[in-house]
Structure formats: structure tokens, C-alpha cells
Symmetry: C2
């Protein structure tokens, strides 16, 4: 049943060979990787305004344009920096790899941890913002924003479990539609202003505070969320078709140009049209003023919603790949490095979705509440990655290395300043959560690495050691214990099997009272076998303690080198619900027994026939 459900939602398994075909071209790669950065047009400017307006009123709009200019400057710098990273790291230059290679392990996993946190926030913020856009145009949705956001994350999860290519195709076209709509809005908006349109200025009540530096920096911190998508491209180089690096660089440059035009354009529009995005989405409010209640108004709303969902989807490309890279190096559980049936990293996708859902519920899907946690992680990883590149240029030099080093060095300094700004100005608004969680993640990653190293060391054998092994020399003496509940076909089968693997067999049973002990002894005598039957009484209603006590007793006479095989039966049922009808104590018993180095658990299946058939047909009982 589960299998069938899975195949409906996730699709049928894909073979390894399909992996190459799942890769991006520029046309399909751009929308899926650009959407994160491009979609921030929908909230970065708005959240800057929401900091400024309550304090300084209408003056906010002028400052918005100014700050947007600074952020676009940052964007240009980062784009040039990251083009260099893509050139140097053809197999994916995520901050984790770049920082680890050039700055050492701690820097690498710091970048990895910071970035993981930010991917999760990308999902939470983008989806919440998307729903906010819709609820601005369709106010009746307002009470249901949390539920809708959660459902969207679940849909994204299912889509991504289905595999890379399909998800990119499904989600690609609307991105271009969004770019078109916002461009149309910007142009129409400017044309109307040029034609002498005077917008209705809303009443703005503000505290009329002075414009302090702190205020500007708080607004700036919110605006920096516009740059969170850049990382995705350099991380995803191996997801591109060959020549992968060239394609990735093209996508990165296109992305920067689009953000520049849309982000800058809407910031200027906001100044002209004076929208106050309290509890409502700025873009939709602007569109309402420019287009009125027309088709284009709804087109802007819907495409903005869709690109925000796409932005969340970017994290679904980035997060599982990042974790799989870390997992391959031993810093995260190995399961995260494995592709599933549909060639997607299923475990990473599930992890991302669950944490994002928790955040959405905890922060009631409010963008203004989530934004405080956002961007600090990604700027931390920017800094580490740029510093790593700087060190790389200094160490390895190469053709025209100096200008490149200067670009990356500048990037490192600027982004480091941004990290400090965000950490200080946003500390009380959620950044403290990230400041606490990232070190915890680093600690856990080091522990995981240590565990894998210890396992590796315990298993590893050199070629000399392997050659020295003599498998012919008998090291173990095999002894078998067959726990039985009753004398029936199952126990006979287990005893028969035991006979084939050893000539030192003990049958073992636990009785609750003398009477039942006598009953089983009597039945066992009918077998007329030389295999001894040990009967123990259990005060607790458990099998495992008496069995282990028996093995350790002198009665069993355990000698060094003995390997004890304990047989456990396992019913194999026909229908899934029948599994609920059988005790799962087998797993419990097994786990207790396996704690002992010299016990092997042999599980013997007992295939059950169809209930109806068995009860109808007396002759056909199984042997």
C-alpha cells in the first residue's frame, strides 16, 4: 500500500543513467536558480520601508531608493566575485568547499552550517511572503495564511522528491512571466508619472523620529535579504550541462541584471507611488495603484506568488546538495548523501521541509517576523567563501591573480561588515537564534565526523593485514540456541535449520508457571531428540533477560571463541494490516541480543498463507 502511494506521489524509480539527463540548460537553469534573488524584490524593499515609515514617515521613500542603490552595488560586487569562484570550482563551489579547502575544516563547516540555516529560512520566508501577496489581493485568505503556507511547503516537498528536471520544468515558465509582469509594471508606472499622474498619497502617521544611523542600518539589514540567492548558482555548477562553468556564469550574470532592473525599478516606483505596506504586500499595492482592478493587477499578484514559491524551490536544489557534499565528507549523517529512487536527495528534502514548516507555524507565516533570522547566515558564508578565494589567489597565484584577489578581498571585507551590521541591528529580532544555532550545528558536525572516523578506523585493514588472514583456520565454534514458545511447525522448522548449521544446539523456553513448563516438557519429549530443552521461569514477562542470564551461566558453559547463533522467528504476513497483529518484540529482543559481541541473530521467516484459503482448505496446511 505504502509503495503504491509512493509511486503515485513520487513517481516510478529512475535508473542511474537518467542522472545526466536531469541537468540544466541556461534557459531552464536560470529560472530555477535566479528565482531566489529575483523574488526578493517582493519583500526586501517592503521590509526596508516597514522599518523606516513608522519612524520617519514619508521621508522613508527617499532613503529606500538610497539604500537600494547600496544593495545593488553589493550585488554587482558579489556577482563578479562569484564568477571567479565558478571558474575555480567546476564541481560546485559552495562556501563549504571553498572555505574548507582554503581556510580549514572549521571555517568550512561554519559556512556549511550558516548556509543550511539560510536555506531553511529561504523556504519559510519565500513561501510566507508568497502567501502574503495573495492575501493582499484576496483579503478573504488572511485568516488562512499559515495553513496555506504549510500546504505549499508540502507540495514543494512532493514535487522535489519526484526529481530535478521535472521540478525545473514545472516551475520555469512562470518565472519569465514574473519578470515580464514586473517590467511591464515598472514601465507603465513610469509612463503614467511622466504623463503627469499624481498618486493618492496615503495618510502616514509616524513618530517623526530623527533619521539615525541605527535606523538606516536596520533597514539596510532587511534589504540585504535581496542577495540571498546568489550562492545557489555557484553551488549548483555540477547541475548544469556541459560546458557547465560557462553556463553557470551566464546564468549568474543574467540573474544580476534582472535583480538590478527589478529591485531598483520597484524601489523608485515605491517612492513615486508612496505605498505603505503594513500587513499588506508592497508589490501588490503598487500594482493596484498602477493597474487598478485589471487583468495585469492579478497577473502581478499571481506571478509574484509563483516566483516566491520558486525561490523556496531554489533551496530545494541547494540544501540537499550542500548536505550531501557535507555528508560525503563525513560531517553529516551518511543517509543525506544518498540519492533516492527518483535521483533526488530524499532525506535532505524531508529535513528541509519539516524545519521550514516548524518555522512557519512558530512565526505565524509573518515575513516581518521571519526576516530577522534571515540573511545573517548567508552573509557569514559569503565572507568565509570570499576569504577562502582570497587566500587561494595569494597561495596559488596564477594568471592575472592580483585583480582577482582584490575583487574577492573586497567582497570579503564588505560582506563581513554586513554580517556585523545584521548581527547588531537584528540581534533582538531573531538573529540571536541563528547566533546560537550555528555553533551548535558546528559542534554536532564535528561529533559526527569523529564518529565516522572512529568507525572507519575500527574496520580498516591494510593489504598486509588482509593477506595475513587465514580463513581456513577455525576461529569460532558455532553454537545455536533455539528459543521456542511451543512445539509447532515454526519451532520444528527452526530446530531443523539449527541442525544444518551446528551440532551444538540448545532449545530454550520461558514459562510463567510450573504447569505450563510441564506441558511443554511433555510435548518436547515426543520429539525424542538429543537436543536439550532448557526451561526457565520469568518473574517479569520477558524472554530476553532469562536467555542472556542463561548464556552467561555455568550451565551453558560458554567458552572463549564460541559464537552463539540465536534463532528468532518472524511472521511474514500477506496484508499490511496483519503486521499490526503480531508482536514486534522480535526487534526489541534482537536489539538486546546484538549488544553481545558473540551473539548472531538468525531470523527465520514464516510465510503465512491467505487467511481465507487456510481456513477453507484443510488439506493445504504448509509444511
Amino acid at each position: 500500500m505504502f509503495k503504491r502511494l509512493k509511486s503515485i506521489f513520487i513517481g516510478r524509480p529512475l535508473p542511474n543513467e537518467a542522472l545526466a539527463g536531469e541537468k540544466y540548460s541556461v534557459f531552464w537553469g536560470l529560472p530555477i536558480l535566479a528565482s531566489d534573488a529575483v523574488s526578493s524584490v517582493a519583500y526586501a524593499g517592503q521590509e526596508m520601508l516597514l522599518v523606516l515609515i513608522p519612524a520617519i514617515g514619508v521621508l522613508a521613500f527617499g532613503q529606500l531608493t538610497l539604500l537600494s542603490g547600496v544593495i545593488i552595488g553589493l550585488l554587482v560586487l558579489l556577482t563578479i566575485s562569484y564568477r571567479q569562484t565558478i571558474d575555480s570550482y567546476p564541481s560546485g563551489g559552495g562556501s563549504f568547499i571553498v572555505a574548507k579547502d582554503n581556510l580549514g575544516v572549521i571555517s568550512g563547516i561554519t559556512a556549511g552550517a550558516a548556509l543550511s540555516v539560510d536555506y531553511i529560512l529561504t523556504v519559510a520566508v519565500s513561501v510566507s511572503s508568497g502567501v502574503e501577496q495573495m492575501a493582499t489581493a484576496f483579503q478573504f485568505l488572511k485568516p488562512y495564511t499559515v495553513v496555506i503556507s504549510v500546504v505549499l511547503v508540502i507540495l514543494l516537498m512532493i514535487g522535489n522528491l519526484r526529481g530535478i528536471r521535472e521540478s525545473s520544468r514545472i516551475f520555469s515558465i512562470p518565472t519569465y512571466a514574473f519578470i515580464f509582469c514586473i517590467l511591464a509594471m515598472i514601465i507603465t508606472g513610469f509612463v503614467r508619472i511622466a504623463n503627469g499622474y499624481v498618486p493618492t498619497v496615503p495618510e502616514i502617521t509616524s513618530a517623526a523620529e530623527p533619521l539615525t544611523l541605527l535606523l538606516m542600518l536596520r533597514a539596510f539589514s532587511n534589504g540585504c535579504t535581496a542577495l540571498t540567492g546568489i550562492e545557489a548558482v555557484s553551488n549548483a555548477v555540477p547541475n548544469f550541462r556541459d560546458p557547465a562553468q560557462k553556463r553557470a556564469k551566464t546564468v549568474l550574470t543574467l540573474l544580476a541584471i534582472i535583480v538590478l532592473v527589478l529591485f531598483g525599478g520597484t524601489a523608485v516606483l515605491a517612492q513615486f507611488y508612496h505605498v505603505v505596506p503594513v500587513n499588506n504586500a508592497m508589490l501588490v499595492l503598487i500594482a493596484g495603484q498602477i493597474f487598478g482592478n485589471t487583468f495585469m493587477y492579478y497577473a502581478v499578484t499571481v506571478t509574484t506568488f509563483v516566483i516566491l514559491v520558486m525561490a523556496a524551490n531554489t533551496a530545494y536544489s541547494g540544501f540537499p546538495v550542500l548536505l550531501s557534499v557535507m555528508a560525503k565528507e563525513g560531517y553529516a549523517p551518511r543517509q543525506l548523501s544518498m540519492r533516492g529512487d527518483r535521483l533526488s536527495f530524499g532525506n535532505g528534502i524531508l529535513l528541509l521541509s519539516s524545519i521550514a514548516i516548524v518555522l512557519i507555524i512558530a512565526f505565524s507565516a509573518k515575513v516581518s517576523a521571519l526576516i530577522g533570522l534571515y540573511a545573517i547566515g548567508v552573509f557569514t558564508s559569503f565572507t568565509l567563501s570570499q576569504t577562502g578565494m582570497l587566500i587561494k589567489w595569494i597561495r596559488h597565484k596564477g594568471k592575472r591573480w592580483l585583480p582577482k584577489a582584490i575583487v574577492n578581498g573586497l567582497g570579503a571585507v564588505v560582506t563581513a561588515i554586513v554580517v556585523v551590521i545584521i548581527a547588531i541591528t537584528k540581534f533582538n529580532e531573531g538573529a540571536y537564534i541563528v547566533v546560537i544555532i550555528v555553533p551548535i550545528l558546528i559542534f554536532l558536525m564535528l561529533r559526527v565526523k569523529r564518529h565516522y572516523a572512529a568507525v572507519q578506523k575500527q574496520l580498516r585493514m591494510t593489504s598486509e593485514e588482509i593477506s595475513a588472514v587465514d580463513l581456513e583456520k577455525a576461529v569460532y565454534r558455532n553454537r545455536v540456541i533455539v528459543p521456542i514458545e511451543n512445539i509447532n511447525k515454526a519451532s520444528i522448522r527452526a530446530l531443523r535449520y539449527a541442525k544444518t548449521i551446528s551440532d551444538n544446539i540448545t532449545a530454550f523456553t520461558v514459562a510463567t508457571d510450573e504447569e505450563s513448563a510441564a506441558r511443554i516438557r511433555e510435548k518436547y519429549a515426543l520429539l525424542d531428540t538429543d537436543i536439550p530443552l532448557i526451561v526457565k521461569y520469568s518473574t517479569y514477562r520477558k524472554v530476553v533477560e532469562p536467555l542472556l542470564k542463561f548464556i552467561e551461566s555455568t550451565e551453558f558453559d560458554y567458552r572463549k571463541g564460541d559464537m552463539i547463533t540465536v534463532m528468532l522467528p518472524q511472521f511474514v504476513v500477506r496484508k499490511w494490516w496483519q503486521r499490526l497483529l503480531h508482536n514486534n518484540t522480535r526487534y526489541f529482543i534482537e536489539r538486546q541480543l546484538l549488544k553481545h559481541k558473540h551473539i548472531v541473530v538468525a531470523v527465520m521467516p514464516l510465510q503465512l498463507k491467505d487467511d481465507k484459503t487456510v481456513l477453507k482448505n484443510d488439506q493445504k496446511a504448509p509444511k
Copy 2:
């Protein structure tokens, strides 16, 4: 870690011997078993008023007293009937047993299913009503009633997982306090009326409808919820100390007297004081009028709350015992018949709690909404149980059987009429849910029984069959397959073990490409063994399919009678979190393999040492 948590919340395990000590005396048994019936004073009358007042206004109070009289008559009849049941069934005369013994299996499980549903509703209704009492006195609690109710159910669950005696002791004293408080309220109320007190009559708006029979019957149906606790005593006979039957009968009689006084008394009080319990609890409103804002007002509120929680606790004694009785007869999953570490039926307790929580959330902890589902189940089981007793007297006769038969017969007829009344008058208000669910439960129970019968039949052997078994005759030929990932200490250990149990061994590995295949072949050659290594390529990244394909291929040359042992390694970690770092594909592989009748899975444990120790101490790597 889980173990430690468990011992904090649940307590340390108790041995079998402790079972006898966990039993009830009259003094401790009365509060725990009586509380269900007694506590209904808190809602049965109130819910009758809530049906009558909107229709007929002040006239409702007179009808309330009348209907309460009828219900008290029913109570007396049922008490006498159930004393007879206790006499006849010393080991617990639950409706399931009585109906099954005398009317057959279908009647028995119908009674069982109906009663299970009612136990669950006892928890949901009692807890919701308890919280309603508190929220009437402390109005600021009103918005949190659902959350508080759910938390209470969870606390009850934990308390009951700790075992019977402790829970009865914890919960006993307040029941007596409740009885004292309500008695004090009744007496004070009457004294004040006798002294000429004239209560403030609230303004009652009603539709001024005629008093129809249907209206009276709907109110009566709600009032019948007062009788839902009676069953618990006869079910719990084996929980009493010897002489158990005598003690149980005493408890039942005391219970009836208490209900009579409290239920009758409060009904009369309601008439004198004219309370209108819309959205508020009747008892607390009456107490407010009689005691004003004094200590006694809060004492009534709190003890009423506590006894309602206790009533929910009654279901925790009844439901798991009922299910364990049904499970022992094969009508419910066997796990429900097993006592846990603390001698309580853990699985039953968990099941009861989860469904009750779902109901509380679904019906927003509203007593008036839940009451529609209530009582129909218990009256169904009353009817079946009484009919069973009637048939028993007629069949087996015995001393003075005729008057006994008449009592039980009368009980059967009257309760059957009540079932019909509730089903008709409450159908739209939730009774239809019960009418649908009970037949589904009956169907499932029959399926479960059929499955166990089929399993039993497939395993059973007669003494002749057992005697005919010749264990010396070799039936199986044992062959071993050792899947290996790499040549390391784990695979060497598995191969060594395989050597001790068979001389027909195959090593098996899955490679993703030629290169890795060559690498493992080269290493394997160093072993210089005659055990063949089979290398297969997997297009999917799975082990199980190639392995099964290999076993079925001519290359493996499977012959009839071959028993194939497949070795699987299992890391045994030191810390619980390390388990998350290892693939749990072993369980998946195992389940796939065990579907094949002739495959035994041998699980070899690999005990890992402490990470720190291993990495510190190079010499001590394990062998």
C-alpha cells in the same frame, strides 16, 4: 536516553508478584470506580436543561426533576441487575464476556465494540466537562479549554502507565471531597430555601414551544449519560482484593446511593435556583448562587473538576482491561493483552488517550457537542449483557432463578428501549457516528480473529505429528551468502562465521562501475580463499534486487531443499544519537529477503567502541 525518560515518567518496572498488591479495597476502589457515575451529576442534568430551556423556558425545571426521577429509577434497576452479574462472573462480568458466553460471539463483540466507543467518550466528555467547570468559575480560561483538556488527557495517560494502585491512591481522596462538597451545597441550598430565600430568577428567552414527547425524549437521552459508569464495577471484579465479589457488590450499591442523592438533590436545587447553564457549568452556577464568592464556591468548582478527571480515569481502568480480554480471545491485536513494565496495559492506555484527544480537538472540547455520541454505546452493551444474563438464568436455572431472571429481563427491555430512544432522538447530533463505527469495529474484530485462527492452524501440530518428526533426517542443505561492501574487519568476521556454519559459501558485492569492481576484486584476491566472489552491477543504487536476481539465476544453482542464510552486518553503537548516523537499510533489505521462504537472515553485530577512545588509542583497534 529513552529508557531514562521512561523511568522518570512511568516509574521503574514492577515484577509479576506485585500484581496482587495492586488491587482495590472498598475504600480505594469506590472512588476510582464510582467517579464516572457520580461525576455525571456535573453534566447530565445540565445537558437536559440545555435541551429544554430554549424550547419551553422556565417550565424546563419542573420537567428536569421529573426526568431525573425516571433516570434514578433506571439506576436502581441496573444496580440490582449488575449485582447479579457480579455474583455470576467472579473473574469480571464485562458485557463482552456475558454476551459472548450466553448469546454468542457476534453479540459479545458487539457489546465489546459499543463499550470501547463509550469508554473513549467517557474520557472526552468528562475531561471537557471538567475544564468547562473551571472555565465557568475562572472565565479567563475560556479561550484555552481545548489545550487544557488535551494536556489533562496526557497527564492521565502518564499516570495510568505508572500502574493501577498508584493512580487510585493519587486520585481517591478528592472524590470523597466532591461528595462532601455537593452534599454541603444541597443541604445549604435547602436550608436557605426553607429560611425563605428567594433566588434571583434570570431572564429566560425561549421559543415557547409546546412540550412535545420528542423534546422530553431528547432531554432524557442526554440525562442517560448519568448511568455510564455502572458497567465499570462489574468489569473490574478481578481488580478487587478477596473476597472480590463481595467488595465489588458493596461498591456498586454505595455508588448507586451516592448518585441517587447527588443527582436527585442537584436536580431539585436547579429547579429552586433557576440556573441557565448556557456556555457555563450548571453546578458551578448553582454553587455561585448558594455560596456566593466564598471558599465553598471554589471548593465545589475544584472538586467537581477533579471528580470529572477521575471519571475519565475510570475509563483508563476499564478500556484496557476490556481490550485485553478481547485480545486474549483473539478479537483484538495480541499486544493489547500484555501488561507492561508497570503491570498496566500500556498499549490500551495509549490507544484510549490518542482517540480521546482527537475527539476533544474535533469537537472543540464542547460537552454539548460530544454528548450526542455518548451513552448509546453503553446502553447497547447494557442490553446485550442483561439479555445474556436472562438467557443464562433460563438455561442453567439454579437457586431462586425466576426473580433473578425477571430483574435481568426487565433490565434488558428497559435498556433496549433507551437505546432506541437515543438512536432516534440523537441521530443527527452524533449518534450516527457511533452507529457507523460500531459495525466497522465488529467487522475488524472478526477479521482479526480469522487471522489468528489461520495462523494457529498453520502452526499447530498434533502429538502424533510431533512424534513422527525425525530431526536427525537432514531436510535442508545450508548455503551462505555474505554480501560485502569492502574488505574490512566486518567482512572478514562475517566470512569467518559463515565458515563455521556451512561449506557452501558465496561472497557477493554490488558495484556501481567497472573501476570500483576491479578495486574490490583485487583486494579480495589478497584473501586467497576458495570462497567465490560474485560482483554484480546495479543500475539502481540498491543491493536487494541484484542479490535476489542472483539467487534465482542458474549461476547460483538453487536446488530444492536449499536453505540460504544471508549475512547482514549491524553496527551496535554506544550512544543513541549515533544510530542516526548509520543507514537503516538493513531493516529494508531484511524485510525484502524474508519474503522468500528459503532465506534466513543472520544478523551479525559489530560493536563499536567509544569514538574518543578509538581515536586516542591507536593500539586498541578491535579484532
